[in-house]
Amino acid sequence: MRRQIPLLITFFVGSMLVLAMFIPHEPFSASNDELSVWFDIIASFAFILGGGNLLRVHGDKIYRRRRDWIYSVVTLAGFFVMLAAGIVSGARAQGNAMSAGSLFAFLYDAAYAPMTSTMFSLLAFFVASASYRAFRAKTREATVLLVAAFIILVGRTPVGYYLTAWIPPPLEFLEIPNLFGWILAYPNTAGQRAIMIGIALGIISTSLRLILGIERSHFSGD
């Protein structure tokens, strides 16, 4: 029964939502709305699961004094400080913890935002270093990639325009901004569409396996 009931629920809900997509009338459309709200309520519990998992992983690391356990202390301290600030600020402003002047807003603006921005900004340095060391025309395929990257990078700057502004009108398709647009509109779109169709087919087959109860790996890890 522990397996049959979840399988039946999956089959019922999955089939209902598929039907609702193709028959947008009662009772299917109403059930689609209702099930979407249920999904959103369940999704809210993911925050509790996430927080619990964070406590478990880092708590265990601190308890066993594993390598770099001190960073886990910082992680948990940050978690509890933001959680407490969020609860206090939210309670004071009818749920809007980010209201102007709140402690949570202050911590978000003064600590969280600069830290995440700093981490993201570091990418610029690593991309620059990688472009020098790794982006090389070693093979024919790598050369094509390199030329495309060159056109895209230069095409996004005014230099791209000035470099090829001398090209006569009959050959203007060779101007870097035009090549940039062509790469985005044709090879890129064609490749993206192929990937998207492949992913969609994969999702359909996996969903069907789940709905029909063929795929059962999500049950108790077996």
Partner: protein, 289 residues
Amino acid sequence: MDIERLRRIDRRWIFLLMAAGVWIPLLFRPVITVKPSPIVAAIFEKIESLPEGSKVLLSFDYGPSTVPENQPMAEAIARHVLHRRLKLYMDAAWATGQAQAEQCIESVIRTDFEDRVYGEDWVHLGYKAGNQGMINAILGGIRNLYTTDVAGKSVDEIPMMRDVQGLRDMSLIVDIGSGLPGVKEWIQFAGDPGNIPVAGGVTAVEALLLYPYYPRQLLGLMGGLQGAAEYEAALVEKYPEYLTDSKALTIMGPQYVAHLLIVVLIVLGNVAFFAQKRRDDRTRKGRAG
């Protein structure tokens, strides 16, 4: 030039060059001329064409890490919508998006549009969990999830919410995003099933993934800082009073220099690579001879 030295250049020099490439243009703030591309101009023209009082949903689906790219887009759209006296509805499918919406309110509405009334001209609905499930749930009925605004006020007490049943009442949805859920999910779960025009603003990396949706399912797209600057350029061209508010146009300089530096580094890296290869080939032939 000593090829061996060029090949083994300490990466700290590259870091230093990149830092200088960003800092120097930030100090001197060069004036960058940007022309709106058709894919960005399409969003501007759509907002221009909407009759006064039309409803526009602006969704904040990003966090602080992509603020330099996303925030100027959101602010330019909010400014344009309010200038044209359209109704601005703000929500967030990302937890961090709510804070970004607050920043937009501070820097756009409370600065340039103090005369606009909360609940009549603009409303902030805040964040709801559920990702694409949230979009799916509010398509048919916004009250399925949003029973209150961000400050806990019942949506039934908010004048501009009274004639809103679901997303189908919106004349346009603009999603500013940097991941999942983002523009793709707004197209798949709101735009396509609800036949609602969807436009987007995303990071440069993500923009490439969205081109297959343009122009039939995606009205227009702002890709990265360039896209934001193009929208600001269109806005400033029509409404010059917003020139001083153009954040993206101001920070385009550092990005241009950084891009050019990367191009130069790629070229130098390949020069060193081919020179080394030639040298190795000669040595091999010399040994064989």
